[in-house]
């Protein structure tokens, strides 16, 4: 049996009858159905709900400030600044502690390998490649993430995110996008792939696509610590130490603002060219503020993030370290594979105010943004003298010795912020849009912008002799 064509005929017949009836009725039947249901709900509520001395809630007063004409926008900036400052300041100490611990262990591993008489290549592969990359990712990535996320989750549980979307909708409307894009961007801080998925809250396909294509301009979990690291060692270190963290936070806020501006700009261009169309209906519920379970949220989200970052370190950073070490230590002629590739990329890198190794690191970092910095450092180390890289100042020394200037630092951060989405995000875009074309376009748009911006800055700095 099953469904024979005969039964579809019956079905079509029924559809036809329903249509005739609807046309005869004249009035909108859907309206009647909805009104009927709501009327029923209303009458039930009046029967079973009783309100005694309604308490005036805090909500009202908090929202008066949070969405106020005067304080609304500045408050968002201040909150962002406080969150970053807490993250940067809070991460310093555990970061140093973890670095001491992990690089102390590295020495022990090295000694162990010596005692066992292991060949140099094995020591290089396992300790200088695999282990070191793991150690860098854990000491650099883990602390800021384990601090940022609990704070962010508290704001989320409190109910602040919809207010952000409420405040920013006007800007998104101007560029032909949807205010809920602000929510997808907030999720993007955690992971751009998740941000792309979150775009499902936007009903209209056109506006959803805009949100998907631009999500990458929010620095995710894997790039955010890179920005913090470079801001701290290049900007923060340039200022008196008490203000160092503030300067670094200001830098990171600046970058996030650049990301937001580029998002709006690209949204505007898309909605006037490839994705032209009418704005869809915008409706956003502002739920009441709810008191988060502070202790539980902090512990849970701290543990979640720690496990997440550690998991990725093991699954992605460790193998990437192994591979990079091989590439940096296998010689073809008198140059390593890395050196060959970097040499080939050097002119392009220089034009953007970067260098060949940086460009190579970004390319090899396609699977995951976390590994860009380890790849870069490992390649530099293989090229130059061996350094102990267990402190920020040592890292700064290494980078400066490789010819980094403030332009290099700035452009690395901008390139990180603007360049192509990571592999996971690209796959998610492919899945969500069902289109190869849009996936490629998402990589092309972002990378083109990254290249143009870096090029302009590098050439500007050269012309005006600022380096």
């Amino acid at each position: 049996m099953g469904q024979t064509p005969q039964e579809w005929v019956v079905l079509n017949d029924v559809v036809h009858k329903a249509e005739t009836f609807r046309n005869l009725q004249g009035e909108n039947i859907h309206d009647k159905i909805v009104s009927n249901i709501y009327a029923e709900a209303e009458s039930l509520v009046s029967d079973v709900v009783e309100l005694t001395n309604i308490k005036k809630d805090w909500d009202h007063r908090i929202d008066d400030i949070v969405t106020s004409r005067i304080f609304g926008y500045p408050l968002m900036l201040v909150l962002l600044g406080v969150v970053f400052w807490l993250t940067i300041t809070g991460a310093n100490y555990p970061s140093a502690l973890l670095a001491d611990l992990l690089f102390g262990l590295e020495e022990r591993f090295t000694r162990l390998f010596q005692i066992l008489g292991a060949p140099a290549w094995l020591h290089g592969l396992v300790v200088l490649g695999t282990y070191r990359s793991l150690a860098w990712v854990v000491s650099v990535m883990l602390p800021p993430m384990a601090i940022f996320f609990p704070i962010f989750t508290l704001l989320e549980d409190l109910g602040y995110l919809p207010r952000v979307a409420f405040n920013l909708d006007r800007a998104f409307k101007r560029v032909g996008a949807h205010g809920k894009q602000a929510l997808t961007m907030s999720i993007g801080f955690g992971c751009n792939a998740a941000g792309v998925l979150a775009a499902r809250i936007i009903d209209s396909p056109r506006e959803r696509l805009i949100a998907i294509l631009t999500n990458n301009f929010v620095p995710c979990n894997g790039r955010f610590p890179t920005l913090i690291l470079i801001s701290t060692i290049f900007i923060g270190a340039g200022v008196a130490s008490t203000y160092g963290n503030m300067a670094a936070s200001a830098m990171v806020i600046g970058l996030v603002l650049v990301g937001i501006s580029v998002t709006l700009l690209v949204s505007r261009v898309l909605s006037r060219t490839l994705l032209r169309g009418e704005p869809s209906l915008f409706s956003l519920e502002l739920p009441p503020y709810r008191k988060p379970q502070v202790g539980r949220v902090i512990v849970r989200s701290f543990l979640d993030r720690t496990i997440f970052v550690l998991g990725r370190a093991v699954v992605i950073a460790a193998p990437a370290g192994t591979i990079t070490w091989i590439l940096a230590n296998v010689y073809i002629g008198d140059l390593s594979i890395v050196a060959h590739a970097a040499g080939w990329l050097e002119p392009f890198g220089q034009a953007l105010g970067l260098d060949g190794i940086i460009v190579l690191a970004f390319l090899l970092g396609l699977p995951a943004n976390e590994i860009v910095i380890p790849i870069m450092l490992m390649s530099y180390l293989a090229a130059g003298a061996m350094l102990e890289l267990n402190s920020l100042s040592a890292m700064r020394e290494l980078l400066v010795s490789q010819g980094w200037t403030w332009v290099t630092a700035l452009n690395v951060m901008l390139f990180s912020l603007l360049h192509f989405p990571c592999g996971t995000t690209l796959l998610t875009i492919r899945k969500e849009t069902g289109s190869f074309k849009w996936t490629v376009l998402s990589a092309v748009i972002t990378t083109a912008i990254a290249i143009v911006v870096c090029f302009l800055i590098a050439q500007g700095a050269r012309i005006f002799d600022l380096v």
Partner: protein, 80 residues
Amino acid sequence: MYTTEETTLANLPLGRRGIVKSLDAEGIIRRRLLDLGLIPGTVVEPIRKSPAGDPIAFKIRGAVIALRLEEGHRVCVRPL
């Protein structure tokens, strides 16, 4: 603006409640507005504006829901 003449939701001053008279929308937008509870006879109150003046948040059937001016203009109300 303290009249009782029909106007649109977007024109209702903050704090002034109105009763929904009709919807000037068809198709999906009409269905969405109905889903939100904007059915003729519903009492609505604009409670706050975003810092840029648009969107506006309304109290609709117990929830606070923000709508852009465009949508607000699609809902005809009689001020109470």
